[in-house]
Point group: C2
Chain length 524, copies 2
């Protein structure tokens, strides 16, 4: 099935009639065929109505059926083969190896959620049996399970056109939870979105699921995305993107007659702390690894290391020199969109002109739409006084902040906003300092890491890709890893229901063989 | 320690200098000695500063220490003996047996959370070990645990002066999670609040915990409560009360620089569905039980049955007659406060005068501040057309809605807002209808119950006291039962941390012997 430019609404494909979205080749800015018809209010209405009508049936599909459906989406994506990779390369400028890796991650993520669904722990099944003889009052029979929260709106991200987009973590975890999904495609990769959407549409069909389980809308402006979040049938929102975009959706959701949760993953500069002994012992090696992480994927990672903190010393200056040297070797890279490239250039320009910032070095330069990596340095005083220095520059730019001592570094950390990740580079002799910092760091970020960089995000059981605001809108969860399913669930308790009326998950004969917590005892 | 009228700020007791809160005897409206000094901005500042400074130490207290602390609070409350019960009786007008029962529940709740803490499952410990040989990239070591979200503001409720107040479910679950708590006392029972606050203050001291773990503030206006929610050191809010009060706090929390979660349990009319066969077989018995539930505690339960739905029939009319007869026997009861009594009278008056509402009967009448139970009936058409008929009348009043058929009843249910509970009265022959209704009911309420009423709220592992907006502000959780601890937690992931720097919960030698999910396998 080729790219057609059509909306996918349930099992239909229709040409949107409200403006057009044009895919642009990231490397040249030229329009790619075809154009994509923007959705209008009727399309939105139909997608939401279908999602609503699919909800009760889909959420009660058996665990096995839901898991097999997720696995089919994965196979269908793989079956798109090179057409998907090539379309995605043109639209995003990302290289083949990266996109093949990202496809593997996306498919692995769908399969992980299939395993999570089969395991059934996410249902939190609990049974507190009746005690008719209890004094002074008999105790009723109470059973609890998690049910799907309702239809979910998902906003694809520009920077991971597969893993955080149409069939990305938000969609996978919402479908795993039993929620129908309406995706607002990111306009930076509409063809990729359509292809992946077709893979999901097909899986819905082949598993005999109600068609409203999935729809994909293109939006030529902002009204469809905003309308989705405002629609009373939508019960939660997944978003990855800019702080301003996320905050706008949070406001719409909070102003609804029935406010709903928004899971927006937004802004993070991902501080990297270089502790003194590590810096002295292996500053040069860290510098090389740092530049590798900084320039990976043209720096277009939510977890890109945008801030380096260290106590000023000859070792730090040696680190800076080594990093600047490595940076010089880093070739320019195509950014995801002309717009993202323009913002990056502005951000770098702002730092280049800043009176209190030194430019330590830049990477290779090239033609338009190619990002040139850049490394800056400033003092802790300047950083603490100037809020503009802590704004994320999306792309391969980073700022080193030179602190006068460990106490100043800690004081600076305390002023930072919430982050997705904080990295510590340390040696054994740095443990006392690390131990002192950890409680503060835990409060600032969703993931702490030692002797590495946050750019690799494992999709597993123990990953947190989240953090305090503004890293995300809701610090209680994660958008990557198996725990992400909890975002789309709510608990319901059943009191004295006859076995015949109980959901499968809570019946005493446990037909699904899932873990049930009986009288508070851990299930075995 | 007698009631002094002082604020409890950490381990200090200070007289608030910003206005006064007067305890009123619920039965007479007369002021009770002493008066309570209202907190000012400095008191708020000090309580928040202490909570903040206590946070890192308290959240890392061992599970055993935290559990023992909760148990000491329970014993200290019991040790207050009759002084607490008598003070509470004067302030609330609730009878001794009810308050002794509520004290038992409050103490049981603290002990339940002690058990939850010792069990350690709430930490969600997960370990995905490193795989250095993995291709194409080695896998890092990742470990996840839940940590306490931060200092929590708790607003006591008027209607459960023990179980939903100073040491109620919000406080117990927040302390269990590792969060310091600042309570804004409800002005309907300030003496009760102070006594219970002293019990907590004492337990903080005897366990050698940092004093900021607990503070109690009286507020002569609204500025202290609002200031608490707005304070940047407070990271979550627990509230039980009116819809307007809860929504006001939600707005303050959403408008903060860093928005925070608000767990407000607000408004519910708790529909009761009488299915045809049950009504025909045992309508009279249900009517008697219904009136018992309606008038329990003067109807001042969040889960009070405020709405009865049934298909009109001779059996329904017989139910109505039986309920009206039982109601006539129900004596008048003192309400919690003169203000609550006045609101109740207004609500009843509104229904009495409503052109489309019949009054089926009223309970006994008595002197002022005593509530007279009331039962009304209307048609489904009127109920669907008139939004004022679905507003909660807090107290012993209920409205029967006569539907023309089962389809109309279902259509009406679909228009309802979120509820804490929905009850079904059914016989075996009603199972098909119940089965058809259940998916809709699950989406409308946090707890579904069969052949009972929602007024009993068990504190256990399988209880959900929650539900979609406006029953609560956050349908993803519960304010009663062990799951309530999840409201005050957030996940943090640790990547490649040396064992020496890992928290106890995540060390490979598992010194706390808690369940750890290894590679996604269920812990045994």
């Amino acid at each position: 099935m080729p790219v057609t430019g059509q909306l996918l609404i349930g099992q239909s494909r229709v040409r949107g009639g409200h403006g057009e979205v044009h895919a642009l080749a990231a490397a040249t800015g030229e329009a790619l065929a075809p154009s994509f018809g923007g959705a209008g209010p009727n399309d939105l209405e139909r997608a939401c109505a279908l999602a609503e009508s699919a909800f009760d049936r889909y959420r009660e599909a058996s665990l096995e059926q839901r898991a097999a459906f997720l696995e089919s989406i994965a196979s269908n994506i793989l079956a798109l083969g090179d057409e998907l990779i090539e379309r995605c390369m043109s639209e995003t400028g990302l290289p083949r190896a990266r996109l093949e890796g990202e496809r593997g991650r996306t498919v692995g993520q769908l399969r992980l959620f299939a395993a999570v669904v089969r395991d059934g722990s996410f249902l939190e099944a609990r049974i507190d049996p009746a005690q008719p003889e209890r004094q002074p009052l008999p105790k009723v029979d109470l059973r609890l399970r998690q049910i799907a929260i309702g239809p979910v709106a998902v906003f694809g991200a520009s920077n991971f056109p597969l893993a955080f987009s149409v069939a990305g973590g938000d969609t996978a975890s919402a479908l795993a939870a039993g929620c129908p999904v309406v995706v607002k495609a990111h306009s930076a990769h509409p063809g990729t979105s359509e292809l992946v959407g077709q893979a999901i549409q097909q899986a819905v069909h082949s598993h005999g699921l109600p068609e409203g389980v999935f729809s994909l809308l293109f939006d030529a402006g902002r009204s469809i995305g905003q309308g989705l979040v405002a629609d009373s049938r939508i019960k939660a929102v997944g978003f990855t993107g800019s702080r301003s975009g996320g905050v706008a959706l949070m406001k719409i959701a909070a102003a609804r007659e029935e406010p709903i949760p928004v899971y927006a993953e937004m802004s993070s500069i991902n501080p990297v702390l270089l502790l003194a002994n590590a810096l002295a012992e292996r500053g040069e090696a860290i510098a090389k690894a740092f530049v590798g992480s900084l320039t990976l994927g043209a720096g277009q990672f939510c977890t890109n290391p945008g801030l380096i903190l260290a106590v000023d010393s000859p070792a730090l200056r040696a680190f800076e020199a080594a990093a600047a040297a490595a940076l010089k070797e880093a070739p320019a890279q195509t950014m995801l969109t002309p717009g993202i490239h323009a913002s990056y250039c502005q951000g770098v320009e702002r730092l280049l002109r800043h009176a209190e910032v030194d430019c330590l070095g830049q990477g290779g330069d090239d033609e338009r739409y190619q990002a040139r990596a850049a490394l800056f340095a400033t003092s802790a005083e300047a950083f603490m006084a100037r809020t503009e220095l802590r704004e994320e520059v999306f792309g391969p730019a980073s700022l080193i902040v030179r602190c006068t001592d460990a106490a100043q570094m800690k004081a600076l950390l305390a002023t930072l906003e919430g982050q997705l990740t904080i990295a510590l580079h340390l040696s054994d002799d740095d443990h006392p300092q690390a131990r002192e910092l950890l409680p503060l760091l835990e409060r600032k970020a969703g993931r702490l890491l030692v002797n590495g960089f946050g750019t690799g995000v494992e999709v597993g059981y123990a990953m947190v890709h989240g953090g305090p605001f503004p890293a995300t809108s809701d610090t209680r969860t994660t958008s990557v890893g198996s725990l992400a399913i909890q975002r789309f669930l709510r608990p319901v308790s059943y009191q004295d229901l006859p076995q015949a009326l109980l959901p499968q998950a809570l019946r005493s004969d446990n037909p699904w063989q899932i873990p049930q917590r009986l009288n508070g005892e851990r299930p075995r």
